[in-house]
């Protein structure tokens, strides 16, 4: 509130002194974002733990397919660890694993949990997952939605319950056993021998299998919810925050912030005329998606939250749900995760998302150098990608199913001509002189990379020198790979 008030006032002369007075206050309510730094020793420990687990378990198991599953899971995780999908920092990683250890320590009856670990994934999807081998993953996108440690604890306890109940390995093993069974083989044989409609019958058999399996999956979710509460009963985390958590999940497919971005205002400049047609959608096939059982499960990230809430209320006699604000001690967690998500999107090349969320956060943190740099970098990267026809590797086509802010920036990127995109990008840099500056310190790597891209856009002869400077200043920099592959 205070921030927006100051912005409004700063336009009138009368308020000028007030702005000066509150400058220090302003800096405090702003947010000095520094990206989470990877702690290489934590990463190495985590990898070792995983390798050890794999080595020990692998000896115990039998069956070619089951062994294959173990191997694939291990490779998948190692690969993601090595390519930087997970954050091993002092902020998220430490906080979440502390909660995990607290829950484990309070429940000494459950053994074999020494090697469990939470990894924080740079994903915007509001979700968490259990891999079955002690690794549980918590997405940044879920962290940024939560309000307190109690909710974090419920999610962690829920994933830990999947591990305790052997849900993952158990269901994989069941599936493999079923595919190996006489029952299944006879069924397939009988379908093959049908005189008519083989493929149709086969398809509906597969659909039936997947429905049964998703039914079992939902049952397992309820079991994990229950055990999660049982585990938390031995801690001092607030149990009824589980209900708030489920209510948050229920609406998690909606964007976190309701602000509407006016791209025309954001991109307006004297050097060119913003064309309203850039934001126009040309009509495609206006045919509604047919009701399709195969699709139903994928429509919502978290189906039947209502049912899960009422089951917990009933089984554990929890006090009814009471909505409230983010706890003040938790605020830094959500703010940092909002920024870290933008940084993650930038690293993974989801440039449309960076522009969308960058502008949204600018409503709360105006004049934030990181946000300005992130938007500038994204505009420039989109320009270069479009120039060499790799745009669609980074930016999808517009789609009404996305939220409005994202849909509209995708429309603009799809509709705009390359030469106009260059004008928009240059104008954005000109409006934000800070991201053009070529002198930097260790603290503002994003600004340094933004200014490098600016020189590249301008075809400047200083480009090579800036590149060398960057590599010297940030030998472990986030954008080193991008810089090296950039021609």
């Amino acid at each position: 509130m205070l921030i927006s008030l100051i912005v409004k006032c700063s336009r009138s002369f009368f308020c000028f002194s007030f702005v000066l007075l509150s400058a220090s206050l302003f800096a405090q309510s702003g947010y000095e974002y520094q990206p989470s730094q990877q702690d290489e020793s934590k990463l190495a420990d985590s990898k070792n733990k995983l390798d050890l687990w794999q080595k020990e378990q692998y000896k115990e198991i039998s069956g070619k397919d089951y062994k294959e599953f173990h191997k694939e899971r291990h490779e998948h995780l190692v690969n993601k660890i090595e390519t930087g999908y997970y954050i091993y920092d002092d902020f998220f990683y430490v906080r979440l694993n502390k909660i995990l250890q607290k829950i484990i320590a309070s429940n000494p009856n459950y053994t074999n949990l020494d090697n469990t670990e939470i990894l924080v994934e740079r994903s915007v999807v509001p979700n968490a997952a259990c891999y079955g081998n002690g690794i549980m993953v918590f997405n940044l996108g879920l962290i940024s939605r939560l309000q307190n440690d109690d909710q974090l604890a419920f999610v962690i306890s829920h994933e830990l319950s999947h591990q305790i109940l052997n849900h993952v390995d158990g269901s994989v093993k069941n599936k493999i056993d079923y595919l190996d069974s006489k029952e299944y083989k006879n069924k397939i044989k009988s379908i093959k021998n049908l005189e008519y409609n083989n493929n149709t019958v086969y398809e509906s058999f597969l659909l039936d299998l997947s429905l049964k399996s998703s039914g079992r999956t939902r049952q397992k979710e309820r079991e994990a919810d229950s055990l999660a509460i049982v585990l938390l009963q031995n801690t001092n985390y607030k149990l009824n925050e589980s209900l708030n958590l489920l209510a948050i999940l229920d609406i998690s497919d909606e964007p976190k912030y309701a602000d509407t971005i006016d791209y025309k205002t954001q991109f307006s400049a004297d050097s060119y005329e913003f064309q309203d047609a850039w934001l126009l959608k040309r009509n495609g096939l206006a045919v509604q998606q047919e009701y399709d059982q195969e699709l139903i499960d994928s429509l919502k990230t978290h189906p039947d939250c209502d049912l899960r809430i009422s089951l917990l209320e009933k089984n554990f006699k929890l006090p009814p749900l009471q909505k409230h604000e983010i706890e003040s001690v938790f605020k830094e967690v959500t703010i940092h995760s909002d920024f870290e998500l933008i940084h993650s999107d930038l690293l993974d090349g989801r440039y449309g998302r960076v522009i969308e969320n960058g502008f949204v956060l600018q409503n709360y943190y105006p004049d934030n150098d990181f946000l300005t740099a992130a938007i500038g970098i994204s505009l420039a990267e989109i320009y270069f990608a479009q120039k060499n026809h790799s745009l669609r590797q980074f930016v999808p086509l517009p789609d009404d199913d996305y939220n409005m802010n994202y849909h509209r920036i995708l429309l603009m990127i799809n509709n705009i001509r390359l030469s106009d995109l260059k004008k928009v990008t240059l104008a954005y840099y000109n409006k934000n002189e800070g991201i053009k500056s070529t002198s930097h310190d260790e603290q503002n790597e994003h600004l340094a990379y933004a200014s490098y891209l600016y020189l590249k856009l301008k075809n400047s002869e200083l480009l090579e020198k800036t590149k060398t400077d960057y590599l010297t200043l940030y030998p472990q920099g986030f954008f080193i790979n991008k810089l090296k592959t950039n021609k």
């Binding site: 993953v137 999956t217 045919v287 090349g349 479009q386 026809h389 590797q393 390359l418």
Partner: protein
Amino acid sequence: MAILFASMSGITAQSKSVSSVVKLNINNIQPIKKGDKITGYYVFYKADKVKGGDYSYKLIIYDENVEKVAKKRIIASSSLLLLEAQYNGELLCFKLYDKKEKKSKLIFYNDKAEKIYTKSYEVSKMERKMILMREQQGGSSSAPSLVPIEEKGFLDVTTVKNEKAGYQIKFYPNDKTQKGWKYASKKTSPLLEFATVMEANKNIIVCLVGAKKKMMSQNASYNVVTLDANTGKELYKIKASSPKYEESILNSYYDEGKKELTLFGNYFRKGSNVIKDNSLGIVITTVNAEGKKIGQKYNSWSKDIAKYLGPSKRGKISEIGFIFFHQFVRKADGTFYGIGESYRKTVSGAATAGKILALAAIAAGGTGSNNESSFQITVRDFYIFEFDQDKNITGVKTIEKSVSRVGLPKGAGYYGPQILAQIVKAQGGFDFSYLKTLNEGKTFAVFYQNYEKIKGEKNKSVCGVISHTDGEYLIDKIDLPTEATFTKVLPAQDGNVLFMEYYRKDKKLKMEFKKMNY
């Protein structure tokens, strides 16, 4: 908090892959059009044998982003072809042909992908021949026979049996309680008559109607017939000739505001043959709402056009050979552009591909045997003819590209330039793919595909776009991936194209949109 295992990979790659492509063949993915716009795609394949000797087919409908919208089951004989799909903003229409039953079938779906109604009818012998020819070419190089009319209905253009062959244009309204209409050639006509729809909107239908004595006759006359879209009644008819010249018609533009029709064509010396002989130039005719010619502009090759062809070609139009006009387009500012590709008959050296020759022979009315002619057609550069709002020629832009050669069936060497062009077109011998206006009509973009020959390098196949905005031309190209077993480029929404790559080894079909620069 689902148990995610095969979780999402890094980048939000907009490439999709369909891994179970057992029945998927790169050719059974086709676009659903709405005139020159791409509104979606469909996949069509034979799924099962059903009781009574029939088969079930699957029709999967996708939107313009290749998101699945609906899945349909169709029962028919063992050989059902899906010929075309069009969308008119309200209904989707699929045109199918049952080879065994010798029947065509139109299926109409509404905006909930529900079947509204179907129409079946017998197909004439001539039409069957043409359908089979198209099937063998595996594409749709000929003019569409299904034409959408925005929010109103569809036209189905077919060849029917009269005294000789004739045409029939049938209108199917979106609202099935309303009556359709039919416009057809006279049953007793002693001539062979054929029709193409050049324009169709909610008020007017503009057709090009040709007539000749025999199939391979090199003498034809052309008329433009306009119909009231509500009743199918003839509004006016225009003969393509003038007291001074013989004329042909290639394309049209209808100005809905002024209700004026602009016709583009070639003109010829009086008494000459518009199919066989060389034209004198390009004629642009303006017709008012009453069907009266209110203006004709003649642009001659030798004088008006030659002066724009640059010093090397000035006055030597014969060096270019002939120009085949694919399309004329009007930009938002009222200027017109004619998109042409040059071709000429040359003596062939080595033998060319047999399959193409056989097809060309069928196209020319032959038997399809491998009779090679000693002539071939060499296709060369793009020529874009620029006209101002008053239809005066103001420039010609030449866009050079690699030469491609097309073999000719035996005897075809003696055909006139217009028929030769039709043979080349039917074989997909031209590089032009399609044309689009973008950027609110301020840009037009010609999409093409060809082989680039670069000295000392392997030939590469490219997909390119030539665009024109604010008086400037821009050329953009992408190399087609070479590691794939098959590659195909389909048109897509706005400035995008859809790359499809099939990898035989992994049985994987990869689809990726690419936005072209324009």
